[in-house]
């Protein structure tokens, strides 16, 4: 086939492109990801029994704020990386800011208490299982997010994979917060962040293979 014929073929009967296709694809991926992670949560972990009480406290919403703001930041970075020639730019700050904020809050908390109680604020009761639980919940969200990225055209595959992994991890952490009994910001600052780093690293490793187009 000559190049001229190829151009003819590509142009022939070309349909109008839906301008909202990218938004719709990521919207679907996040919604389905949330539902699947919730399903896995209900099967393996369950929602904490006193959720009604806890949901009335500001601290519960502060806990959701970390994964929720990271979700927004990772979504911005991922959709930028999934389009050719778009620089991430200020998008990096939207990912860094929630992490820095929670670290500062944790530092403030730890400095305000006696040395003895610091360790329990960091380790809580569930530090052993927390990151792996988040990683487990990330499996379905990872599949959804990568499906969405594959519908676009990332050109920096490792970075796009890492951003997608972080997006998947933040969705999973948001859902995991409904089960997790820990209410110390120092705990979230370490173990939630670590939990989200697992799918991020997996995304960076698998990106070049899964996202090639």
């Amino acid at each position: 086939m000559k190049t001229e014929q190829l151009i003819d073929m590509l142009a022939s009967n070309t349909a109008p492109v839906d301008r909202r296709i990218v938004t719709r694809r990521f919207g679907t991926a996040i919604a389905v990801g949330l539902l699947l992670a919730l399903l896995v949560l209900l099967i393996f972990f369950g929602i904490r029994p006193n959720i009604g009480e806890i949901a009335a406290t500001p601290l519960f919403w502060a806990k959701l704020a970390l994964p929720a703001t990271l979700l927004a930041g990772a979504l911005l970075v991922t959709t930028r990386l999934a389009r050719p020639g778009v620089t991430v730019g200020s998008g990096w700050a939207t990912v860094a800011a929630p992490v820095v904020a929670v670290w500062l809050a944790a530092l403030g908390l730890l400095l305000s208490v006696s040395t003895d109680s610091r360790w329990s604020l960091i380790f809580g009761e569930t530090w052993r299982s927390c990151p792996m639980n988040i990683a487990l919940l990330s499996i379905p969200t990872f599949a959804c997010v990568f499906w969405a990225i594959r519908g676009l055209a990332p050109t920096r595959l490792r970075l796009a994979g890492a951003a997608g992994g972080l997006l998947a991890g933040s969705i999973a952490t948001l859902v995991y917060s409904l089960h997790c009994p820990e209410m110390s910001v120092a705990f979230w600052a370490v173990w939630y962040v670590l939990g989200m780093l697992i799918p991020t690293a997996v995304g960076a490793v698998l990106g070049p293979r899964l996202l090639r187009w």
Binding site: K2, A11, T14, A15, V17, R83, P84, G85, V86, A153
Partner: protein
């Protein structure tokens, strides 16, 4: 490096190509064909500076197919050159990687004006025959592409002839062209 084209001329080219692409994205077939033709000439000269001459036409075809398959990722306010050059660069890197030519990976392609600086309308013979690759696609992709894209039949007429639904015909064209890109990469 010597500039063959002035800054104003480059800007005019960018504006013209962008207009043609935007019309094409809204379904204007003639504008889209013209966009691909003009872009092809720029890409050919861009690739000719970086590849051996027998490789140019194959990679040009691969890049044009990639531009087409990624056309929904173009943002209307984005500089067209940045978008196209990122795609061309990605395909070029992929090619270098596949042929283990690591020396060429260091080629700085940051100058975005360069893509539109020259054009080349002289097509060599492609080594790879995309027509033959198309024949390897499964029928539900091959037939929609054959009728809609090569014979120019409407989606409805194609649906009638193949017994597929109209949406299956559209999906078949879309997936088929992505599958064609995968066949070119050789990973399926």
């Amino acid at each position: 490096m010597q500039r063959t084209t002035s800054h104003e001329a480059l800007k005019a080219r960018e504006a013209q190509l962008q207009l043609l692409l935007l019309l094409g994205l809204d379904g204007d077939e003639a504008a889209y064909r013209q966009f691909l033709t003009l872009l092809g000439a720029h890409l050919r000269s861009f690739l000719r500076r970086r590849l051996q001459s027998h490789e140019v036409e194959d990679l040009l075809q691969e890049a044009l197919l990639a531009v087409h398959n990624a056309r929904h990722t173009y943002r209307r306010e984005q500089p067209l050159t940045a978008w196209v050059q990122a795609i061309a660069r990605y395909k070029l890197m992929d090619h270098f990687r596949a042929h283990a030519r690591h020396d060429a990976l260091n080629d700085p392609l940051d100058d975005q004006a360069e893509l539109l600086a020259d054009e080349d309308h002289h097509a060599n013979q492609a080594q790879r025959d995309l027509g033959r690759l198309l024949e390897q696609l499964p029928d539900k992709q091959r037939l929609p592409i054959l009728h809609v894209k090569l014979e120019g039949l409407s989606v409805e007429e194609t649906a009638r002839r193949t017994g597929l639904s109209a949406s299956a015909v559209k999906v078949g064209v879309h997936r088929g062209l992505k599958a064609l890109a995968a066949l070119i990469r050789g990973d399926q």
